[in-house]
Symmetry: C2
Subunit: 286 residues, 2 copies
């Protein structure tokens, strides 16, 4: 949709798993035409972007590789990069440029397509030593055309970063839901204590199971390392709680708050005011 | 503000720490009059509600106790209840009814006051064996008048529940920010991996440090227990990751997703579409 609206592609061909998706995507202006057969779709392409759950990508890449026209650039939108880039390298696909837009939501499918999704977002690109430099710079230009910020780094470095900033947060939110589910069995009033703060904390948990399963499996080494580092931070705060020194706890909390506000600003509540309250003026006299 | 708008109180007197707050609160329609002196404010009250950070409540309650008119009901809005209710009991304040509205945001101060904050929210009330039954039922009626759902339970049971549903989620979000801050020192590109999912996961971290410090300190026993239970859930998912069985991981994820959707429904993204996109129709053909 962004490629079309920004006139970055003359013709966009979509490949879906279900035929119903094709007319929906055409109606939304996301694609010009579409079908269910990847091999047919790529046969005249200048650029192919894979956007399946990550564990399906290697097989898909192997399947389409023989049908790709000479010089065709290939990229993907998967959340882990070491596996797919090594498959591309093993297939000798020098024009494969791994990509990962840091944008999206827990919602799935063409119904939630948005042409402005990438505006202002980081878009990781993960070339290897075997990747063609010209392909990298062309994909980087395209990413800029979408309004995103291309950030080039190695697949391994990428996977380490997103394990901490994206995959671990998901795992913690899901673990929290599991814990509260256990507690609900133990004390049925537990559910009454679930408010809007928790709703936002666990929002990503509503994401697609298949997508996240593949992320967990494909990046599990890094995710396990991130979980271990997280355990060390928890041990720190556990020690603070055991001592019960208010000033040390306040300092710890202030550090977390300061860093979050550095990164995200002190934005209004993510969940926002309820319906009909959006326009009430806020005083800014503080 | 809710008491005034719903005409549940003839006259509301506000007590603030800073004199600037009083005219702001009057202008917003939250109070009729106000001042800085709690003793003067409570001298003719039918109902007193304490709403300071929890560690200040015991001292405040001791200070105002001699000035309270006979039959005056006292409640509070603190996030932990065992400490304050035992102080009230020790002072012989049978009209003290501990309260905790499960509503609010990470924002602080009268600027963020909202008359509809309590609508649909759980409002915990935590009487003890020493609490006057009539006081409990009057506070419960008031809470219903605010549009909230009064849920009566023991202070200890309350503290155990909110440790899991509110305090632990805050601690995990803050620990996550601490971990990412550490990682940012190690790899400066880490910040590029921080997207909207993480922003929502860590929103509560921007809450008031003093308020949260007091919550951590006052409920630290329960919070430590919750953290330990959380560690056990993390150990489960760690074992799944180590085995790397996709189907077991998918089942674990599906359980978390199912429970979240049971509780919160599959609501639209908490962060919502960006400005100007709110009204775009969504297909519902799925």
């Amino acid at each position: 949709m962004a490629l079309k609206q920004r006139q970055l592609a003359r013709r966009v061909i979509g490949v879906a798993r279900r035929s119903e998706t094709i007319p929906q995507a055409i109606e939304l202006g996301a694609i010009d035409e579409g079908g269910l057969d990847p091999l047919a779709a790529v046969s005249e392409a200048d650029l192919v972007i894979l956007a399946t759950p990550v564990l399906q990508m290697a097989g898909l890449l192997r399947a389409i590789a023989p049908a790709l026209p000479a010089g065709c650039i290939i990229s993907d939108a998967g959340s882990s990069k070491a596996d797919i880039t090594s498959v591309a390298d093993s297939l000798g696909l020098g024009e494969f440029v791994g990509g990962h837009p840091m944008a999206g939501s827990e919602k799935k499918g063409v119904d939630y397509a948005r042409a402005d999704l990438f505006v202002g977002a980081t878009y990781f690109l993960t070339p290897t030593v075997h990747t063609d430099g010209d392909a990298v710079s062309r994909v980087a230009q395209l990413v800029q055309g979408l309004g995103a910020l291309p950030v080039v780094l190695s697949p391994e470095r990428h996977d380490r970063i997103v394990a901490v900033t994206s995959h671990l947060p998901h795992l913690l939110a899901a673990s929290l839901m599991k814990l509260i589910l256990n507690e609900t069995t133990r004390d049925p009033l537990t559910g009454k204590g679930m408010a809007t703060g928790l709703r936002d904390v666990t929002r990503t948990t509503s994401g697609d199971v298949e997508m996240w399963r593949d992320v967990y499996v494909s990046n599990r080494g890094r995710l396990l390392e991130a979980l271990e580092s997280f355990g060390a931070v928890c041990a720190e705060v556990r020690a603070l709680l055991e001592k019960g020194e208010a000033s040390a706890i306040a300092e710890w909390l202030a550090g977390a708050k300061r860093f979050r506000e550095e990164v995200y600003g002190s934005q209004p509540s993510a969940s926002g005011p309820p319906e009909g309250q959006q326009d009430r003026p806020r005083r800014t006299s503080r």
